[in-house]
């Protein structure tokens, strides 16, 4: 499990409406440190991961979303959206960082990092 911990509450950044993300689909958010993939699942939940497969860095935002997982477009590893961990036969082989995300009034908010002093 990836544990999300913050010493201070992170600042949240509005990146768009939930409905901007197709159901069972994904959109990218470009950041200075590379893309973040934001997913919307069939049950309407929103998840965010760094857009980089633990295998060979495939862009997870381009995969097929099913259940709470995404199948990487390059070699079909299935990554758990909640934990960033590969599942099934590839479980335990690395991990994609999870980006804290929350939905408020239909808007998607991503956590901005707390500035390191």
């Amino acid at each position: 499990m990836t544990i999300q911990t913050f010493d201070i509450d992170p600042a949240w950044h509005d990146v768009g409406a939930v409905t901007d993300i197709p159901e069972r689909g994904s959109r990218r958010v470009a950041t200075a440190q590379g893309d973040v993939a934001v997913f919307r699942t069939g049950d309407g939940q929103v998840f965010a991961l760094v857009d980089r497969c633990p295998h060979k860095h495939g862009p997870l935002s381009q995969g097929i979303v099913h259940g709470h997982g995404v199948t990487c477009p390059l070699h079909s590893w299935v990554i758990d959206l909640k934990t960033g961990q590969p599942t099934g036969a590839d479980a335990g082989k690395g991990c994609t960082p999870v980006v804290p995300v929350r939905v408020q009034d239909g808007r998607v908010l991503l956590a901005q990092p707390v500035m390191a002093g």
């Binding site: 959109r27 200075a32 495939g58 990092p113």
Partner: protein
């Protein structure tokens, strides 16, 4: 002794329930006053739906009549707005200058319906659905003969409003932004069944619809305009798009408010003398819109206010829809997810769909449609966190069966079932019928039992149970099933049966197929979804709407993904021919977008490799401007038509092979197929276009055109077989299109032509397309029809017509990095 003064603001579900709970614990403690903005006693708001539908009257839904207030010494200020609270002086200020002092105050102000800020939202006839006045307005509108209603919002409230209005004789249409009704409670399968059930009850639904404006005349609403230009006429428009906690009063009084009024586990606000319950509350970040959590809150509050210790922990929710004859239940993580196991039961004949989601051996959620009798049982198991490993095999059949069999292992449980126990719901076969058929007729396999008794003949879901029955009856004599392979883990049906059913039963959407064929998963998997999407597209050209989320990325974005996440772009080069202008345009595009690699492909055209996703629409626009369209290098569909130079130049050429190749490609491009389809035309038997290793190849000879089928040169090298020889180009095009259409209609997803041919035989193809000329003409006609809607350049649609505009650019760009882990 003077009593403490308790004032309640809000005479609704929460306010009055809180008072009831307090009176139950300590009837003597408080002198109580209740303020309510509505000029009436406390009634059951959730029953407004049956009132609207004419199934109940207002009197039926009153919870506490005037006598209750009187008998309990409660002062009711009905029809009076509270305008302010003075926290310092502990006083409530109401309309008409009334001031009432309190020792303890409860805010139960509920919520406000959300109004979309559409143009025309203030026209008369635009209403929300919250209180009796709204219901009265709707009933009045429905009295006009022929009046129509539009409801924006396909959630619980919107559907109940539309159903009620339809019951009152109005034509009612629900307009919903999402693709699934009640998407926060239902998965796609249940949403589909609900949509059908509503249609039977006179409620139409428009899904994926964006409202643009409310139109009107003389200050009155006359219709709703959608973004796609459609106008839905109506005399009344109901907005049921959600609610917002009503925290206005709390905020103005200086209490801490976020989305709702913030309370702790004792329901206490930021002021120690002020409490809050109901929809206006925000507890641990959650706001609720159903009554069950309100009952929990009111119990906690009553404990706290009568010297106990209030401890509200948040609530787990379940929902039922109140539309007569439509049984819907939903709770928890109804849509499952990674790490969850889905148990699905479908009964196509009875219109039943049940899905129970198991996580870590416990029920994590459930959605039931058509038979929701066990909803409460699943909800109890879920809330209690009961370990259900022991009853996993029978849990989907409900409480009665499961508890009847508890403590027994599956085979013993099956053995212990009474003969009258129904095993196969769809065909109504009970256990006794199966066991007697087995013994009387000496059946040994599942197939035998299926053929004789019909048990599990239409359905995957009872197959394990039927197998258990056979095992229990035969012991070791049971033979494990062989037979056609099912499409995937989600179904017991093979591809062929699914394709047949789509046509025979007029199944026109993915949920329709999954319900009719009793899929054992809620929304399929990565294998069956793309297959079904293709089958539906092929069966209902021009009618079925492609589901891009059921396509692999390449077909979704019309380019091939590369190892570094960039894309490759391959424009069509008809029959391998190009021009200096096209080459210049390709060179310009490569320069302009700094495309790192340009390569000639094995398919006689040019590949631009390493294009950034964001640049794709602009690259396409430039290529389109030079007259080039998508080469579908990514498609399960027509790829390339390779040609040689032929009689135009070659000293051996017998016919214009390049010209025929171009004609074929121009005629057939854009068509989707079970797998990729590659063609080639060679000008003579020297075969420089490698026609004999293509899906369909033409070899020109002096007397005409040899048509070859079933080649491939990939993983398995496969030479073609000769189908026939035809005399003219026209006939060649017609025959090839007919073969293509036959394959499109009969091939299984991912089955290339050579595999399809091995399965059905070259003779069958020959009989259907060469011997039977009427059939050839019919196949050709169907291909032509399909091409009418298939031949749209997907690049142009995305480059200049704004299709899937959001797909190619990031949804946001942030200057900094993001917190992770």
């Amino acid at each position: 002794m003077t009593k403490e003064k308790l004032v309640v603001i809000g005479n609704g579900m929460a306010g009055c329930r809180a008072v009831e709970e307090i009176l139950k614990r300590d009837p003597e403690r408080y002198e109580i006053a209740i303020f309510g903005a509505e000029p009436r006693v406390n009634y059951n708001r959730i029953m407004l739906s049956p009132v609207l539908a004419g199934e109940k009257t207002f009197d039926d839904i009153v919870i506490n009549d005037e006598a209750w207030y009187r008998d309990n010494g409660i002062a009711l200020h009905a029809g009076r707005w509270v305008t302010g609270v003075d926290l310092e002086a502990r006083k409530v200020l109401a309309e008409g200058g009334l001031e009432v002092a309190y020792d303890k105050l409860i805010l139960a102000t509920g919520s406000d319906p959300f109004r979309l800020p559409l143009p025309g939202a203030d026209l008369s006839g635009v209403v929300t659905f919250r209180d009796l006045d709204d219901v009265d307005a709707m009933i009045a509108a429905s009295a006009k003969p022929g009046a129509r209603a539009v409801v924006i919002g396909g959630g619980l409230l919107g559907l109940e409003a539309a159903y009620g209005l339809a019951r009152r004789g109005m034509g009612a249409t629900v307009v919903h932004l999402m693709d699934v009704l009640m998407e926060r409670q239902l998965d796609e399968s249940a949403g589909y069944l609900l949509r059908e059930a509503l249609l039977e009850r006179g409620v139409e639904t428009v899904l994926g619809a964006h409202s643009e404006a409310i139109v009107g005349e003389d200050g009155k609403v006359t219709g709703l305009k959608l973004k796609d230009g459609r106008v839905l006429p109506c005399e009344i428009l109901v907005m049921a798009v959600g609610i917002r906690p009503n925290a206005t009063l709390a905020k103005a009084s200086g209490l801490q408010v976020n989305r709702g009024i913030i309370v702790d586990d004792a329901m206490r606000t930021s002021d120690p003398a002020v409490f809050s319950v109901g929809e206006c509350v925000e507890h641990r970040g959650n706001c609720y819109g159903l009554v069950a959590p309100i009952w929990d809150m009111c119990r906690a509050l009553a404990e706290e206010l009568t010297d106990g210790e209030g401890a509200y922990q948040g609530s787990v929710l379940s929902t039922r829809l109140k539309v007569s004859g439509v049984d819907v239940f939903s709770a928890g993580k109804f849509a499952g997810g990674e790490g969850c196991e889905d148990i699905v039961f479908r009964d196509a004949a009875r219109g039943v769909y049940k899905r129970v989601v198991i996580e870590d051996g416990r029920v994590a959620g459930a959605v039931l449609f058509g038979d929701a009798a066990d909803g409460g049982w699943y909800f109890d198991l879920m809330k209690a966190g009961t370990d259900v490993a022991e009853i996993r095999d029978t849990i989907i059949f409900g409480q009665a069966i499961t508890e009847g069999l508890s403590g027994l292992d599956p085979s013993a449980a099956v053995a212990a079932m009474p003969d009258t126990q129904e095993i196969c719901g769809c065909n109504g076969v009970c256990k006794g019928a199966i066991t007697s058929a087995i013994t009387a007729q000496g059946l040994t396999t599942l197939d035998d039992v299926r053929a004789v008794t019909k048990a599990s003949a239409s359905c995957g879901s009872c197959t394990p149970l039927v197998e258990q029955v056979i095992k229990a009856t035969l012991g070791d004599g049971f033979k494990v099933q062989t037979g056609p392979k099912p499409m995937c883990k989600c179904t017991s049906h093979p591809h062929g049966a699914v394709r047949e059913a789509i046509l025979a039963q007029d199944l026109k959407s993915m949920p329709a197929v999954m319900q009719a064929m009793e899929w054992s998963t809620p929304d399929g998997c990565a294998s069956c979804r793309p297959a079904l999407n293709y089958y539906l597209l092929c069966a209902w050209p021009g009618e079925y709407v492609d589901d891009s989320q059921s396509r692999f990325i390449n077909e979704r974005v019309h380019a091939n993904i590369q190892k570094d996440g960039t894309y490759s772009v391959v424009p069509r080069m008809w029959g391998g021919m190009t021009t200096p202008d096209e080459l210049r345009a390709i060179a310009d595009v490569a320069d302009k977008y700094a495309i790192p690699a340009v390569k000639v492909t094995g398919g006689q055209r040019i590949d631009l490799l390493g294009v950034q996703k964001d640049d794709l629409p602009a690259v396409w626009a430039d290529l389109n401007a030079a007259g080039m369209v998508s080469g579908h290098a990514y498609a399960k569909g027509l790829r390339t038509v390779k040609t040689c130079v032929g009689s135009e130049w070659c000293r051996f050429g017998t016919q214009d092979s390049t010209g025929l190749g171009i004609k074929l490609e121009k005629f057939m491009w854009g068509s989707w197929a079970p797998a990729k389809v590659k063609l080639a035309v060679s000008g003579c038997p020297r075969n420089c276009a490698e026609s004999t290793c293509k899906d369909i190849g033409v070899i020109c000879v002096d007397s005409g055109y040899e048509i070859h089928v079933g080649g491939a040169a990939g993983l398995h090298i496969q030479g073609t077989q000769l189908l026939t020889k035809v005399a003219t180009e026209e006939e060649a095009i017609q025959l090839i299109s007919a073969v293509m259409q036959m394959y499109r209609e009969g091939g299984w997803y991912l089955e290339r032509i050579y595999k399809w041919m091995a399965r059905i035989g070259l003779e069958t193809i020959h009989a259907a397309t060469v011997e039977d000329l009427d059939n050839r003409a019919a196949l050709f006609a169907r291909f032509v029809k399909s091409q009418e809607t298939a031949q749209v350049d997907p690049w142009a649609e995305r480059a200049s017509k704004g299709v899937e505009a959001g797909e190619f650019k990031p949804m946001a760009t942030l200057p900094m990095g993001m917190a992770a882990e």
